[in-house]
């Protein structure tokens, strides 16, 4: 790993100031389980790392009326084991409990995952399907506006996610098919029902998370696995790589959509 300057601010203002005043190439560090492996491979080589982990007030989970608020630095293991999440939206617990592996879940964070927006990461599917609001040190951003393509989000330089507000659904399910070694999702589908409205978000299949509008329409009319049995994603928008062809991903999507719906009703 190449060398860098390491800063450890104790407030959001200090962190933002450090980022904006850096002449050099600076990156925020949260759990580090995407960034540090990349730096070890020299795929990324920032001149400065700004470690956010000692800033107070960025962890914790609370229920506020019909929403669950999760601090940006809350690690996946904490979300997976939280009783409030388990009661309000077990699909979210289930998703968090499958990210990476146990050791990764003890360090990886919600905010880090969202800010990075890896096309194969899990949290973007939950955030998009649960109509979440991403709260930063400057503003609130709705999920539909947040994800802007591979590794790209609406975040501006110096902007730091502080928490995420998830809407609590009537029913939700998350089905994913993991690569056996990397444990990333080849395809992951999060289905959420709010009254008559249904949101279906897919990760892993394309250059970023997206909503499957055909599935949403079918499920809004009749929320049952039979409504989606013939549905298939158009192959030309899906990824083909050494892990899976676009056709296989389309097939996985059809299967996982049904699994998510069944899971949501169980």
């Amino acid at each position: 790993m190449l060398s860098f300057i390491y800063s450890r601010p104790t407030s959001l203002e200090q962190a933002e100031e450090l980022m904006l005043s850096s002449d050099d190439d600076a990156l925020f560090l949260a759990g580090g389980h995407t960034l540090l492996p990349a730096m070890k491979q020299r795929l990324r080589a920032p001149d400065r790392l700004i470690d956010l982990s000692r800033i107070p007030g960025l962890t914790g989970i609370s229920k506020e009326n019909d929403k669950i608020a999760i601090g940006a630095l809350t690690c996946h293991a904490t979300v997976a084991f939280d009783a409030q999440v388990g009661l309000s939206c077990p699909a979210l617990s289930h998703l968090a409990g499958q990210i990476g592996d146990m050791q990764v879940r003890n360090r990886g964070t919600l905010g880090g995952s969202l800010a990075n927006n890896d096309p194969a990461s899990d949290y973007p599917a939950a955030v998009l399907a649960l109509d979440a609001t991403i709260i930063t040190n400057r503003r609130q951003i709705k999920a539909d506006s947040f994800f802007q393509g591979m590794f790209t989000t609406a975040l501006e330089p110096g902007e730091i996610i502080t928490s995420v507000l998830f809407s609590i659904p009537d029913h939700a399910g998350y089905g994913r098919f993991a690569h056996p070694a990397s444990r990333y999702a080849l395809v992951g589908i999060f289905v959420a029902k709010f009254g008559t409205q249904v949101r279906v978000a897919i990760t892993g299949a394309s250059s970023g998370v997206f909503r499957w509008t055909e599935a949403e329409c079918a499920l809004s009319s009749h929320y049952h696995v039979d409504s989606v049995s013939g549905l298939r994603l158009p192959v030309d928008e899906l990824n083909s790589d050494i892990h899976a062809s676009a056709e296989y991903r389309a097939h996985l999507a059809s299967v996982l959509l049904k699994q998510s719906v069944i899971q949501s009703l169980s």
């Binding site: 860098f4 580090g32 730096m39 070890k40 146990m102 050791q103 990764v104 003890n106 360090r107």
Partner: protein, 157 residues
């Protein structure tokens, strides 16, 4: 950068470069070579240690991130000459062959017991072991050892 690490109960004041990984500081500065480096990709888990009680991959943490924290390595598991029940279980159930992954398996096992208790199902252990790879055993004896070691931990006074 000056940091303080408490490793296996002993306090160490160290001056380390920010880009030094925790696993390198444990192995090369503190001489605790029981923790192993098995891959370059944060997948194999041979480097697993407990950080404030939670299993983490020491190859994917900068030593400076652990400033002020407590680290437990495999060297801190036995009590002098007396093996920990989890270590005894790995012996009794032939839970290792070459032994390279074993320290990581045991540290992960200790976190599993801390969070899930001493009566562990095979499927739970298998899920929690996804971050620990073994090239020798095929995992059956490792899972059996962890289940047995957990049970023994529950039975000791």
């Amino acid at each position: 950068m000056n940091i303080t690490l408490t490793v296996n109960g002993a306090r160490h004041d160290l001056d380390v470069e920010p880009n030094r990984l925790l696993v390198d500081v444990l192995r090369e500065v503190l001489g605790l070579t029981g923790t192993h480096i098995g891959c370059d990709t944060s997948q194999c888990g041979a480097c697993t240690v407990l950080l404030d009680g939670s299993a983490i991959k020491a190859c994917t943490l900068l030593a400076v991130q652990a400033d002020g924290n407590a680290v437990q390595t495999i060297e801190g598991v036995a009590q002098g000459d007396q093996l920990h029940p989890m270590q005894v279980a790995f012996q009794e159930h032939h839970g290792l062959q070459c032994g390279f992954c074993t320290a990581g398996m045991i540290m992960t096992a200790l976190d599993i017991v801390a969070r899930h208790g001493t009566m562990l199902s095979e499927s739970l252990i298998a899920h929690e072991l996804e971050g620990n790879l073994c090239r020798c055993t095929g995992y059956r004896n490792i899972i059996a050892a962890i289940a047995s070691g957990a049970k023994a931990m529950g039975e000791r006074v």
